[in-house]
Structure formats: C-alpha cells, structure tokens
C-alpha cells in the first residue's frame, strides 16, 4: 500500500493528511505529519486520522506539529 498518496482506510482513497506508524512489540502507535518518512505504516486522510483510535492496550503518541490548516472558502 502506498502510504504517501491515498488514505489506507478501506474504500476511502482520500488525500493523506497524516501518517500512522507503529511498534508492535512496544504496543505503541504514532501519528506523524504527512511529510515524515516512515519505514512501515499507512497514510490516513483528515477524517480518518481525526477518528482514529488505537487498539485496546496500545498507546497513541500524536507527534504531529500543531497546524492551522489553510481555510478554503466554503459553500452554503
């Protein structure tokens, strides 16, 4: 799976906004910025990154830099 271009969530395919990597032995999951090079893991779109929850017993480390996303105009 190419974790650089498309969200790895089944059926999504949205643009990658966050990368997820993990250490199985240490039961730790990291969320990192999309530009970060990771050896293994997956890419997640904005929505799936926001709703991601680690498996029970695992620790989530959010290492993404705080960002103020560019705000494109919306339509009503």
């Amino acid at each position: 799976m190419d974790h650089n271009s498309a969200c790895s969530h089944p059926g999504c395919g949205g643009a990658v906004a966050t990368k997820l990597t993990y250490d199985y032995a240490g039961r730790t999951v990291w969320l990192v910025d999309p530009g970060t090079v990771i050896e293994h893991g997956m890419g997640l779109c904005q929505g799936h990154a926001a709703t991601f929850r680690p498996p029970v017993g695992w620790v989530l480390e959010d290492e993404r830099l705080p960002t103020i996303p560019r705000q494109p105009p919306i339509a009503v």
């Binding site: 929505g47 990154a49 709703t51 105009p73 919306i74 339509a75 009503v76």
Partner: protein
C-alpha cells in the same frame, strides 16, 4: 435591530402560515432531495458527482421554495414580497450584500473555525466544499455555478430568513427569530466525515453566517441584502474552485 419588520399584508389580514409550514418545507425538501439523489445515483451508478449533487439540490429546493410559495398563496397575501420580504433595492442592497458576503466568508467563518482551532487539535473544514459541490472543474463547475450563486441564495433566503425567521418572530419575537433561523440554518448544513470537532466547527460557522444574514433581514425588513450576501459568499467559493484546478 431598532426598526421593526415592515408592515405586510398582515395589517389587513394576518397571514396564517407559520412554523408548521417551515417544518413541512424542511421535511419535503429533505425527502425529495434524498429521493432525487438516490434516483440520480441509480441512473449514473455513482454515489457522488455532479448529477447527484444537482438532483439533491433540486429536490431540497422543491420543499424549501415550494412550501413558502404555497404558504403565501394559500395562507398569506399571495406575494412573496409582502409575506416574506422578498424585495431588492439594488442601490443599497448590492453594496451591503457584497460587503456582508465577503465578511461572512473571510471573517465570520474563519473566526468561528479559529476559535475551535484554539481548543481542539487539527480542526479542518477544508473538506466541506468538496462534500457540498463534488469538487467539479471545467464544464461541471460552469453547470453547478448558477445553482450555488443564484439558486441556493434565492431558495435558502426565502426559506430561512423569510418563512422560518418570520414564523419564529411572530411567535417569540425578532431576537428568537434571528437566533432560531440561524440554528436551523446551521443544523441543515451539518455534515459528517471530517471528525466530530470539525463537523461541529463547520456547523457553528455556518450558523454564525446565518446570524449575519438574519440580522440583515430584520434590520432592513427585506431579503435583498442577505440574498446578495449569500450569493457573494458562494461566488467566492466558485471562484476559488475555478482557480484551484
């Protein structure tokens, strides 16, 4: 909000439309919109895309525009201008509306989203435009643009700032009408899929823009300024879409 709503035909015969009609309009719009979108999905074989977007909008507008039209004819004066303030004074309304639309898009929405960003990690509502429009380009955007810049402002101002606001205001006062119509406006535009905090931020931002539109409607006694503001707001989005591809 020191000036009252202008006298309408209600001075002669009080219109009998009200919140029931607003609820009916919303229900008919949501059902018709869902139905037409489903039909478009069945025909095209895609759950999104321009045909589905337009079918959903047209269905929604059947309720949001059809019910005020029927309410004015059967229960009111027969005039959308008299009953709901659908009037435009070009010289002042265009100027007020353009400024309000720009302020709504670049100040109101950004301030509200910014407040959420100050308290929650990674609030991002960038996906909204894609969800609403299907992110078209070229001919698709040219086809969709009139729906966003002309259709949506006309129908939504008539419904939310016309029927809904005035129905609530007649029962509970103008302040309740302004707040109530804005809450309904925000709720109707609620969408999921960006994360709960982003979804909530977007709903509050749109509701806040609704407050501005409702204030204009009450302050001027007509829908003209809000209509132009709404059109300007969406025109900015269309221009952004056209220049982003």
């Amino acid at each position: 909000m020191s000036e009252p709503l202008p006298a309408a035909a209600s001075d002669v015969v009080a219109p009998s439309w009200g919140l029931g009609d607003a609820v009916a309009g919303l229900a008919v719009g949501l059902v018709a919109g869902g139905l037409l979108a489903a039909i478009a999905t069945g025909v095209t074989g895609k759950v999104d895309g321009l045909p589905v977007t337009i079918a959903g909008l047209v269905g929604l507008w059947v309720g949001l525009a059809g019910v005020p039209l029927m309410a004015a004819r059967r229960k009111g004066s027969g005039s959308l201008g008299e009953d709901f303030g659908l009037r435009l004074v070009p010289r002042s309304d265009i100027a007020i509306g353009v400024v309000a639309g720009v302020v709504g898009q670049f100040v109101v929405v950004r301030v509200v989203v910014g407040i959420f960003q100050a308290f929650a990690h990674n609030i991002d509502v960038a996906q909204q435009t894609k969800n609403v429009t299907g992110n078209p380009e070229g001919l698709g955007l040219a086809v969709l643009a009139p729906f966003l810049v002309l259709g949506a402002p006309f129908v939504e101002e008539l419904f939310f700032r016309g029927l809904v606001l005035r129905s609530i205001a007649r029962r509970a006062g103008r302040v309740a009408g302004v707040i109530g119509s804005s809450v309904v406006f925000g709720l109707v535009h609620f969408q999921t899929g960006m994360g709960a905090a982003s979804d909530a931020a977007l709903m509050c931002a749109i509701g806040s823009f609704g407050l501005l539109l409702a204030f204009l409607a009450v302050r001027t006694g007509r829908l003209g300024p809000g209509l132009i503001a709404h059109a300007t707001f969406n025109a900015i989005t269309v221009i952004a879409l056209a220049t982003s591809h």
